[in-house]
Amino acid sequence: MVIAKGDNSAGGKPVDWGLLTQVKDMFETADPMPRDLPERIHFALALRDLEAELARFADTGEEPAAAARGAEESWTVTFDSDSLTIMIRVDANPDGSARVDGWLAPPQPHQVEIRRADCSVSVAADNLGRFVFDSVPRGTARLIVHPVRPGSGEDAERGSFAASKSVMTPALTLLPRSRR
């Protein structure tokens, strides 16, 4: 065994690394950390500076998690916030990535971002509130809608959202199942 610098015995008595390793192995088996915890923390870190309103799954009578787990090739989910409704449809691309089509209501050309723990992509919604991400890697992601700056008088008048904070969806699993 390599004894690295800093490996010191305690009080003149060598530390029983073998026994400690057994203790470690035992707890790793008996009470392991939830496997997805690091990824959830990555998210929390990535979002910590963002002051955003959290959108809710809209009550469409369908359990979103169940929809996401379904075997169908595409699924649709709607989120509500006080200022904005976001609907997205997720389809599988042949290469295994996800295509995300979305609509904002009321329609506004906001900046829409898909943020993952390790990267983010943004697109602009058009004047009808539509936006498309052609290819997003499968995995956990959040959608964040950033308000456009109220540049024109019309935008500023359009209501609270243009001047207010971003809206963020709960974490979504894009294409949880591997496609054949």
Partner: protein
Amino acid sequence: MIMADNGVLPQGTVSGDDRRAHVAHLVDRAREGQMDAAAELVTELSPMLWHVARAAGLSVTDAEDVVQTVWLRLMSKLDTIRTPAALTSWLVVTARHEAWHVRAAARRQQPADSEWLVTIPDPGVGAEENTILKEEQRQLHGALRSLSERCQELLRIVAFVPRPDYDSVAAKLGMPRGSVGPTRSRCLDKLRSALNGKGDQW
């Protein structure tokens, strides 16, 4: 310095110096706001924090919250952390502090549950989980449970501390190095005795 930006963090039998260089590099990059470096630290060191929180007797949900809280807090402390050992120490001490805080709050919310006050929370192994343990691990678990609460917590924490950072963390946990029976050494001795008491070879 030896480092592999995309490599797995060296640990265990890998030279402690390589690991330290790599962690130091990650801390530097995280301080500059590079999230992938912070993410790698989170991936590498969260299991240790999980076991610190669970060793303090927290529920799964509370332990998850504590681990996340510690990392969020670290982000504003990175400027003050200069060495990997300091990082490990800060994480462990903060997680432990946070865990006890959460436990105390839970305790205040359940004043009527007097039994809860005196019962040591299960450190994580129930009957169900026990079935997935090998026989020798069950014996080890049994031996651990026969120790004092303090020893159980201590051993579980130090078992997950990266070896090169061990002394630093041990010192921070109030287990001074020195010839007068360090607590962790005593706890390990007790554990060994408890195991031998079972009459099985280890």
